[in-house]
């Protein structure tokens, strides 16, 4: 696991940048979203809404770019390895992840001592990283259903009627933000639980040898 070295091949510069964009946009979206939900100080509503809309478009473009780039950029096949392969292969579940889901859960529940064999990412990681894609799109959908210029487009308005009105859509949008917050908490915790080498590579692009 983290006893491995962390090389730049694991996170090429382009993904270090997309990760930064994701982080900054998410912080901006959550902060401005909380402010729009309930303005906890005065004089910021216009800015908060502007910030929310800009960050929303940036993160969506970034996500689409990240998905497309996964088919062209090569990343390390395993932690502590300089051997690379197309990123999408390392992102989707692989042979190495087979039969390891429950073992991973058992490991984190302290029901086994040894770390589990995994590819670049473990089973739980892959599920989480893949789930954030549809979740981001669902969040975007609920957001557009509330966003003045798009709210009355049939595609979005149909969803608003389906959930029983804008108030319910607003509450769904609010709860999905909490899912993102909890995801980010778990993500930051698990990535850095052993040491901060993973953060050094993803934020500073600094390699660590073990």
């Amino acid at each position: 696991m983290s006893s491995q070295a962390h090389y730049r091949e694991a996170h090429p510069l382009v993904f270090v940048i997309t990760h930064w964009i994701n982080l900054i946009c998410m912080i901006m979206l959550a902060f401005s979203g909380f402010y729009i939900h309930y303005p906890f100080f005065d004089g910021f509503m216009g800015v908060a809404r502007g910030m929310h809309f800009v960050a929303m478009f940036v993160i969506l473009i970034n996500l689409v770019f990240r998905i497309i780039a996964a088919f062209f950029v090569k990343t390390a096949v395993d932690l502590g390895s300089r051997e690379v392969d197309t990123d999408i292969k390392n992102w989707l579940p692989q042979a190495k992840n087979r039969h390891q889901f429950f073992e991973t859960v058992k490991y984190y529940l302290f029901m086994r001592k040894e770390g589990v064999i995994s590819a670049k990412y473990g089973s739980l990681q892959k599920i989480a990283y893949l789930a954030t894609i549809p979740l981001t799109f669902i969040q975007a959908y609920t957001g557009f259903a509330l966003y003045g210029p798009t709210a009355d487009w049939g595609f979005f308005f149909g969803g608003t009627e389906w959930v029983g009105g804008e108030m319910n859509m607003r509450i769904i949008h609010y709860f999905i933000m909490w899912v993102f917050i909890v995801f980010t908490m778990i993500h930051a915790y698990l990535a850095n639980v052993y040491n901060f080498a993973p953060s050094k590579i993803i934020f500073l692009w600094k390699e660590t040898e073990h």
């Binding site: 983290s2 939900h37 004089g43 039969h99 984190y108 302290f110 086994r112 804008e166 709860f175 040491n195």
Partner: protein
């Protein structure tokens, strides 16, 4: 309202102290509300004049499960105005709240009107379907049956007020009386008479006037074209009582934009100037009521434009946050009225909970869980270099052991 109107329109107006100029101004105002250009004002004036000269158009005003608030909204005009005059062009043959007749006479007036057909039906209040309709009895008859009978022979129906639209606050959880909207009920009994819905609690008298004028305009040629000639917007919802999807027709101009978009306090919203407490300095300054639970951002009516009481004022103008009475299922969707988001009605003794509380609990539990897990990881000695790694997957080891045993 139920009285007979005599003479031409200008005599009527003169008697009520309304000048011709006022009348024409009002006609252009109605034109705007119907989504027509101001050039349509003379046409509207002509239709109203024709109405005053000719035979009065018959109309019935029925009350379902209602508080008569919409009647009040219309009747509480402090001085006679053009709206009253226009509404008097209708011969309202039955109007429980304010008709002079009573008992058999009143019922006969209704029966005769229904038999003759070709009238405008104005329905106020929810259709009470609970206990097989016994939750509302009028003269020993079920309210829902009276509506069905009257609806079948009407030219058109105006469902006035939130209750007639989708059940309003009668429809709110738990709704033991089974109150539903007019369109929803007519769908279940398969009556296809066109219904135009006028939202809000109460509805605005000006909107009723606009639709009556619209009806007078089209009734001249062919009442069947009422819906086709009215610019409409539709909304669909799932009725929790009947289980059906119901599509409602609204006049487009009335539900075209949010209250928030036309709000006179909108500038304060953008500037981030909010009222946090009633009776505060901010309230005196007329700041935005967003933090006081204003539902203007998700309520699609043009209250800020029409306003109430002859355009004198309306809720937000007079200092109250919008409670969203123009939206569908408005009580459940908007209560508590002074909170930003509605509470979620969780069963199992939990009661009504604010989404913010749920979010904070979820976040807090996650943080506490991770902290506890981190301590566990430390205790297990995994911090630093991580755990010792397995050499083969547990699955493969098991399989190998099995194979070995079989040999």
């Amino acid at each position: 309202m139920a009285q007979e109107a005599h003479g031409a329109i200008y005599d009527l107006l003169a008697v009520r102290g309304v000048s011709r100029r006022d009348f024409l101004k009002y006609c252009s105002y109605v034109a705007a509300m119907l989504g027509l250009s101001e050039a349509a004002a003379p046409q509207i004036a002509a239709a109203v004049e024709a109405g005053a000269r000719g035979k009065l158009k018959p109309a019935l005003w029925l009350n379902g499960g209602s508080c008569s608030g919409c009647t009040e909204s219309m009747a509480q005009v402090d001085s006679p105005d053009v709206a009253t005059v226009v509404l008097e062009l209708l011969s309202v043959n039955y109007f429980e709240t304010i008709m002079a007749a009573a008992g058999d006479h009143a019922e006969k007036a209704m029966d005769d009107t229904i038999e003759a057909g070709g009238y405008l039906l104005i329905y106020e209040g929810a259709v009470m379907t609970g206990e097989d309709g016994n939750t509302l009895l009028i003269n020993g008859k079920k309210g829902k049956d009276i509506l069905q009978k009257a609806a079948e022979k009407a030219d058109a129906i105006l469902a006035v007020g939130a209750c007639a639209v989708d059940g309003g606050w009668v429809y709110a959880h738990p709704n033991p009386a089974g109150g539903i909207g007019v369109q929803s009920y007519l769908d279940t009994v398969k009556v296809a008479t066109p219904v135009v819905n006028l939202p809000c609690c109460p509805t605005s008298p000006e909107w009723i006037v606009a639709m009556v004028v619209q009806w007078l305009l089209v009734a001249e040629d062919d009442p069947a074209t009422f819906l086709a000639k009215t610019e409409l917007k539709t909304r669909t919802y799932k009725d929790s009582v009947t289980g059906n999807n119901v599509t409602l027709n609204y006049p487009a101009y009335i539900v075209g934009s949010t209250i928030h978009d036309n709000c006179p306090r909108r500038g304060h919203f953008e500037n981030g100037e909010f009222v946090t407490e009633f009776g505060s300095e901010e309230e005196a300054k007329g700041y935005c009521l967003y933090k006081m639970g204003c539902k203007g951002p998700q309520t699609y009516t043009q209250c800020p434009i029409t306003r109430w009481n002859r355009s004198v004022s309306w809720c937000v103008n007079s200092g109250a946050p919008c409670i969203g009475c123009g939206s569908l299922n408005w009580v459940d969707n908007n209560a508590p009225f002074f909170k930003r988001l509605s509470s979620m009605q969780l069963g199992g003794g939990v009661g009504n909970v604010q989404p913010g509380t749920v979010g904070a609990i979820v976040g807090g539990v996650a943080a506490a869980g991770l902290l506890a897990h981190g301590l566990g990881m430390k205790a297990a000695g995994r911090i630093g270099d991580g755990p010792p790694m397995e050499t083969a997957k547990a699955y493969d080891r098991k399989k190998m052991a099995k194979k070995g045993g079989d040999k």
